[in-house]
Amino acid sequence: MDNSQITRAGSQTGTGSRFWRNKKDYLGVLPFLVVAGLFLIWPTINVVYGAFFSDEGKFSLKYITETIQDDGHRIPFVHSLQISFWTSIAGGILGALFAWAISTGKPDGLARRFVLAVGGVLAQFGGVMLAFAFFATFGFNGFVTTLARRVSETNFLASPEWLYGLFGLGVVYTFFQIPLMFIVFLPAVENLKPQWREASESLGGSAKDYWFRIGFPILFPSFLGGLLLLFVNSFSAYATAAALISQGTIITPLDIGSALSSETGGASAPLAKTLSLYMVLIVILVMALYSLLRKRVSKWEQ
């Protein structure tokens, strides 16, 4: 049923009345537009626009060019890219495997509900608490550390300072990347029709043949899409790093936080906005790729 029929169905006369009817309908979205305008659209414009100004309020490309050249900002940015790249791969592979493992189980069973709930919580919920969870486990008095120390005084897990640097941050990030990948990738794995497996087997193909010729190629776009989503998730994260790293700004979100709040380290509002602009550009790029991939995938899902 086409929408124009609906709008026409209720109107009394011809085009004149219908024109006004449409105009009044636009009022319906006004409240939403006001709220979204204030709390979402204006801040975005504020950030993008403000990056092109200097401290004195004059138009200037000063911050745009300086931030790339300044080690103090370029290095955290590189770190952000690195950590996002590695944690999305690690979380992606493990999450995808876990999705496969669960998909072969009972659908709608208790285990699946449990896992989806856990995934939902961990993917959304509080980097601060996650950081504390890792302190409690891998920190000096953590139970893993204590166990490791009993095995040997010098093994890696027995001395927990690895936790408080880029590597440790990566491990904690991977913790919440895995459930996110699981949630995103599960529908793709579930869409692998068993008929394809049966067809492959009836043609004499082994499990390896099935996976390498049918399974993986079909899953690949979704897998890649999942990786991209994980990349953005890791790149944008702030809370976990803020809780784990109390001194220094080793990734860009921390750099932005410092530029927003603190006057030491050459901070200012345009700096925060410039750094934010760079972040947004990367995120939009990745999300655009993701969108393209999803369009390809939806073809398979039909």
Binding site: G139, S261, E263
Partner: protein, 376 residues
Amino acid sequence: MKLNQLTKPAVVLSVAAVLAVPTFAGTSANAASKADTWTSAKQAGGLKGLAAACKKEGQLNIIATPRDWANYGEIIDNFQKIYKVKIDSNIPDGSSQDEIDTANKLKGTKRSPDVFDVGTAVGYKYIDTHYAPYKVINWNQIPADKKDSQGRLTSNYTGVMAVGYDGSLGTITKLDDLLDPKFKGVVALNGDPTKASAGLNGVFMTSIVNGGSFDDVSKGVAWFKKLKDTGNFINVDPTPATIESGQTRVVFDWTYNHKAVIDKFKAVGKVWKTYIPANAAVGSFYNVGVSKWAPHPACGRLWMEYVLSAEGGNSWGKGGASPVLWPWMIKNKTASNDAIAVIGSGTSVAAGASVDQQAAAVTYLTANWAAAVGTR
């Protein structure tokens, strides 16, 4: 589902929202009360008048004031008890720079801090912009070099920089002992030296030990770089939580902060030791000032009066910090025995870097610290 059935949950939610109104009942910003022009207690009608004005304001906002820092807990409790005013303590583990930054961020709101407790380096950077001039009742008892001439910042208390550490690690007899592998991953400095006075003076002390001086902190930075390269130094702010968990078993911090840990450890049968390098006793006064845009200006000034009084001084003493009024308190015997038991009756304090030396050091550190210890 009929419309009626949908309205019921909507009504319940609306009622809940209405009940939430008291939590955000807008309190309009204070009309500028006369209190923010007072430059001494006399204009308030003496201490009593100041206390009455504060009671009317009803609250005091302090910031970066941990309870176990130089016995602040006792000072906070006593102030609340005596003047019947609620104290709101924001970001207890903040640095001096955090205090200024928060005041900037919250300027004009009722949550902005009323008083600052800032180190000399950070504090004096903002001497022209952030503080209201106010001379306490005991103004004349404070040496001229320990106060700003207009009373914008007044020295409050000081201590000595020391290395505190978990006694089960042995005994430290020289700073280079910390380069030993047994200290892997447990050595921390209290604060980023470009933002926190404790951090800055930790670097000063280390620099002096290694042949530097208040004019040259490069030797200190080099030593910390060495410590970082061995894997012993971690970029973590030591807090009561990190000390208790054992994450930071060696901490560069003021003696009065170590005192709190010594007491806590003793209570559970452990030992926290301190080490001050010979010929490298470094001290630095913290300074108190009322915020220029304090939402509770009378309470802010009352707080200044309290901490710069004999009673406040004795609390500092009990906490292991040396109050700026100590020579005066010893002379007129207002120093309590409890305080003397902790800090002794001597009136000399550890040497500290001048305002200019600290400013120069911060400039150097801003350029070199992050790269040296990997906070980037």
